[in-house]
Amino acid sequence: MFDINVNLILGQMVLGMVNGVFYAILSLGVAIIFGLLGVINFAHGVFFMLGAFVAYGLLQFFGLGYWPALILVPMIVGALGIVLEVLLIRHLYRLEHLYGLLLTLGMALAIEGFVRIVFGPQGLPYSMPDNLRGAVNLGFMFLPYYRAWVVVAGVILCFATWYVIEQTPLGAKLRAATDNPKLVQAFGINVPVMLTLTYGAGVALAGFAGVMAAPILSVDPSMGTNIVIIAFAVVVIGGMGSILGAILTGFGLGILEGFTKAIYSEASSTVIFVVMVIVLVTRPRGLFGKVG
């Protein structure tokens, strides 16, 4: 049961890191939306799925491949997010978090159902970009160029987002607006627009992750259903609303999951939730949650 093979463990941890990128990007979006809007966005997995489907649509109907999709899809998915925020979500900001959760869960089920009716439950093909085919030999494993690209792009995206929110004047305004919207509004800043754009940006991240996942995962209507649960576990472990916590925990748990796959694969789908339970019991604010 417990086979120890160093190369295998290293390989699994590298692959875990790749999954960690997806967890980190998704959790980052969830954390931003919760941290700044106070909405527990259960529809996040659906935006991830839509990212992959829009990429498929761009290729199928407009002949636009992977690289244009990487730019266009987040914009399209983000725009859809903005529409939904204006029509539905913003009406719940004054209520408890639970209402936002129920609304976004309902949205998720409805959108997923709609996609299933239109495209069917069958997976859709999406090829890898030709210039990222092939693999590099790391000594202990062959790492496909595509996965290496996912790690690089994911890390850059995550830390750029963190930088914007934590280190720039724009981020400071955003954080201030969520802390005391009335005061910030009094300074002449349009808070509702700011929140709408934040929601759009959060789901755009999910759309981006969806495009990155399309060449390597099965593109089907339920592809976001399971991964969003993990994203929530990551956010809880990292500390609700903590941006850096979501990123670091996403990567860390991906690696832990990979390590578990190498040691005892049957436990790999539960290890993240075991960690979640331990963290909730011993440190309910999460690993990076602020005390206060």
Binding site: N5, N7, L8, G11, Q12, L15, G16, V18, N19, R116, I117, V118, G120, P121, Q122, G123, L124, P125, Y126, S127, M128, G134, A135, M141, F142, P144, Y146, R147, P215, I216, L217, S218, V219, D220, S222, M223, N226, I227, I229, G258, K261, A262, S265, E266, S268, S269
Partner: protein, 394 residues
């Protein structure tokens, strides 16, 4: 295509909701929304409708009514639908239940009510411990599935196997039967991983398979998991052959033929095998937009034979229809016939295929090249190993 799918789902709703006063009522219980629905689901309902129409829409002078419902791959949901169909709708036969857990839950209820159950579950438990006099397996069981391709591969030198198995009853049964077949044929299983139904990334398991020294990877899994495995194996440039046990043309379409080329497997029906299958498939494609999968074809054959049996028996009463069903051979779409053994298992062969290279696919959906046939008897659990109590009774 889009509109038609929408209309179809509306029709299902209407059928499921409407009262069933007809004398011959068929209940099609299936996964209509989950991952297995790609292979059967809506498309098998179309196949059943074709069988009904081909039969003239009525039997014994009464119209044939088709109910359909989604079991959501949940055993308790499936069981309560079956109970309702028996108590309220007066169903005469229940079809499909294309999920082992649902099939196992529906079986005792239908047996007690004396209603034939022509099921589309693959677990061999339904023709062993849970065999019933009025129960017939429309699809190949896990025993046959696991042997059809395994034995020839082991004999041709792929004798070290690594299994990637979906961690529930179907996967485990398939893996166990596959492992037994491999060892019997002189090969060995060098490793196994069980993946959770929640898994979406399988690269770690593929890496492990590569490290294990195996020369074949048995996929005791299916659907979107199998699609993801194929994509990722291609991404990692794996040279180990993948061996799917339950691969439909719909899966190949999803994964892209470039990710599944040169793979050998076995299947019960292939649409482009001969003139008869092509003729049937053209009629099916007219209604559903693609050729039939093996599950679609099996449902068609089974329902057509059921209706013939009702006519022969002159009644819809379960025992009499069952007797007639078993008394005459079932016509296969591809030509030839099959018969039903005491345990409800159909004695039928499987086709051995090799998937084509992308440039060889000149017709849409023509992914397989048929390269051989696994003989029906070699896929049949020997009677002395069966735990079905019905042997020797009649």
């Amino acid at each position: 295509m889009m509109t038609r799918k929408l209309l179809c789902s509306v029709a299902v709703g209407a059928l499921a909701a409407g009262p069933a006063m007809a004398d011959v009522t068929l209940g099609y219980l299936a996964d209509l929304s989950g991952s297995t629905s790609v292979l059967s689901g809506e498309s098998s309902r179309v196949a059943i409708e074709m069988a009904i129409e081909d039969f003239g829409g009525e039997v014994l002078g009464e119209p044939i009514e088709l109910l359909s419902a989604d079991h959501l791959t949940q055993a308790d949901t499936g069981a309560s639908i079956v109970r309702e169909w028996i108590d309220v709708e007066g169903v005469d036969v229940v079809l499909s239940a294309d999920n082992s857990a649902v099939g196992l839950a529906a079986s005792p209820i239908l047996a007690e009510a004396g209603i034939p159950f022509l099921h589309g579950a693959s677990t061999s438990a339904l023709s062993n411990d849970q065999c019933e006099p009025l129960q017939i397996q429309a699809l190949m069981d896990t025993y046959g599935l696991s042997r059809a391709i395994t034995v020839p591969l082991v004999e041709s030198g792929n004798d070290q196997w690594f299994f990637i198995t979906v961690d529930y009853a179907f996967g485990q049964a398939l893996e166990a039967a596959g492992a037994a077949a491999i060892e019997e044929a002189g090969g060995a299983v060098v490793g196994t991983v069980r993946h959770s139904p929640q898994d979406i990334d399988f690269s770690a398991y593929l890496l492990e398979a590569q490290a294990s020294g195996a020369n074949a990877i048995g996929l005791a899994t299916f659907g979107s998991w199998q699609v993801a495995i194929a994509k990722q194996a291609d991404e990692f440039g794996m040279e180990l052959p993948l061996v799917p046990y339950f691969l439909g043309i719909t899966d190949v379409e999803s994964a892209g033929i470039e990710n599944l080329q040169g793979i050998r497997g076995a299947v019960q029906f292939y649409w482009n095998e001969n003139d008869a299958t092509r003729e049937f498939s053209a009629r099916f494609a007219e209604r559903y937009g693609r050729p039939p999968t093996f599950t679609n074809a099996m449902m068609y054959e089974t329902v057509r034979h059921y209706l013939e049996s009702v006519e022969a028996a002159g009644t819809t009463e379960g025992v009499a229809v069952n007797e007639a069903f078993r008394a005459t051979p079932i016509d296969m779409i591809r030509g030839g016939t099959t018969t039903v053994r005491e345990d409800g298992r159909q004695i039928r062969p499987m086709l051995i295929y090799q998937t084509r290279a992308p440039e060889e696919v000149t017709t849409d959906w023509d992914f397989f090249e048929i390269i051989g046939e696994a003989d029906a008897d070699s896929l049949l659990l020997p009677q002395d190993q069966s735990t079905c109590r019905l042997f020797g009774e009649g």
